[in-house]
């Protein structure tokens, strides 16, 4: 058993933001829920690493990122078909939901899954390049370069879409 209080405290502190990140990445809420279970299950199994980890939150997010990317690679085609179908069935989507669909489309058209995860983790979840480097196994300089390219791609795309 992990040292319950510390491990449990980490889960309690991060469940909300990781649950959000997974929904931002994979769209399908049921899938995101399954991924969240998998993330915490893997984290529990790998809990001994926590003793040597500088940033436990970034460590958990790294696990979440890996699960999301693996799933997205597997399900790319099926997901597109389901989303088109869902949009057709939901003419009464709220405004927020419509905005979210548009933004996700923009992200998916112009960024690969890896860069989408980087952008979300940097600009919505506040991780710095050093932390993202630890998550992804890249150097901080490589992360900054990828972020710069992704940022520019989105900026250009958003201008075109106006």
């Amino acid at each position: 058993m992990a040292r319950g209080v510390d491990f449990e405290a980490l889960f309690v502190q991060t469940e909300y933001s990781i649950g959000k990140f997974l929904v931002q990445m994979v769209r399908d809420r049921q899938l995101a829920e399954d991924l969240l279970q998998d993330v915490f299950h893997d984290a529990f199994r790998g809990r001994k690493q926590l003793a040597s980890v500088e940033n436990p939150t970034a460590w958990l997010f790294g696990i979440a990122r890996n699960h999301a990317l693996k799933t997205l690679r597997r399900q790319r085609r099926l997901r597109r078909a389901l989303e088109v179908l869902a949009r057709r069935r939901s003419p009464d989507q709220g405004e927020l939901e419509r905005d979210i669909v548009v933004i996700r489309d923009l992200l998916e058209r112009h960024l690969d899954a890896d860069d989408r995860a980087l952008v979300l983790l940097r600009y919505l979840h506040g991780f710095e390049a050093v932390e993202l480097a630890a998550m992804t196994g890249r150097s901080p300089a490589a992360v900054r370069q990828r972020l710069s390219r992704a940022r520019h791609a989105l900026a250009v795309a958003s201008e075109i879409d106006r």
Partner: protein, 222 residues
């Protein structure tokens, strides 16, 4: 456009995504703090296994001592019923992962050494809640052979003895753990175990729990 402006633009593009509702873990409400006491209750759960739900299945299935028609002793006091109702999250919200407590189907399991009664209460969403009267509640998936016990710990504070308790499947005969330097084996009676330590142990660390089955086999509950 410089990097700073691009960053601003990206943040504004992504802003609606920051308002998505997060998903939650499906199964367990792992901690409950009562409004009356400062209480830390840790629910230790084994890895859940999917259970095929048949027409006669309920969250109390596998707990033989709870599988009987209601008796007078199973009836909760209004105060305990009110305790459970106050625990329930608003129905339909994403926080409502446990469901309505089916109070009329509660079954008395036993009592803590301090005398507080402990009930097994199924929820409308198929969860198993172990309720200590006017103290605490912990809910999880129903018990299975792969997940044979619930295990809750109360370490309230200085001067108050720590307590552990839980429900088990029919084939569990004892649970063992260490608290600080002391090794403890608690026998299971009627699918229920409860133990109380010494006040001095209120901060002692509790080890992983070993479950012993009727056939002599053991396993460490995760």
């Amino acid at each position: 456009m410089n990097a700073s402006r691009e960053s601003e633009l990206v943040r504004s593009i992504l802003a609606p995504l920051d308002r998505v509702e997060p998903v939650q873990r499906k199964s367990v409400r792992r901690r409950r703090v009562t409004s009356m006491l400062t209480l830390v209750v840790l629910l230790l759960a084994a890895t859940a296994v999917s259970v095929a739900i048949g027409a006669s299945w309920s969250p109390l299935s596998g707990i033989g001592a709870a599988d009987h028609p209601a008796r007078a002793t199973d009836k909760m006091s209004p105060a305990v019923a009110a305790q459970l109702q106050s625990d329930e999250a608003p129905s339909g919200t994403h926080a409502d992962s446990i469901g309505k407590r089916l109070i009329d189907r509660a079954r008395l399991l036993g009592a803590l050494p301090s005398g507080r009664q402990v009930y097994a209460v199924p929820s409308a969403d198929g969860k198993l809640c172990i309720v200590v009267a006017l103290l605490a509640e912990s809910c999880s998936d129903a018990l299975t052979r792969a997940r044979p016990i619930t295990f809750a710990i109360a370490q309230i504070g200085p001067g108050v003895p720590p307590a552990v308790w839980g429900a088990t499947t029919d084939d569990v005969v004892s649970v063992s753990f260490s608290i600080g330097a002391e090794s403890v084996t608690v026998p299971v009676r009627d699918n229920f175990f409860a133990w109380e330590g010494l006040p001095a142990q209120f901060q002692s660390r509790i080890s992983p729990v070993t479950v012993t089955f009727a056939d002599g086999s053991t396993e460490i509950a995760q």
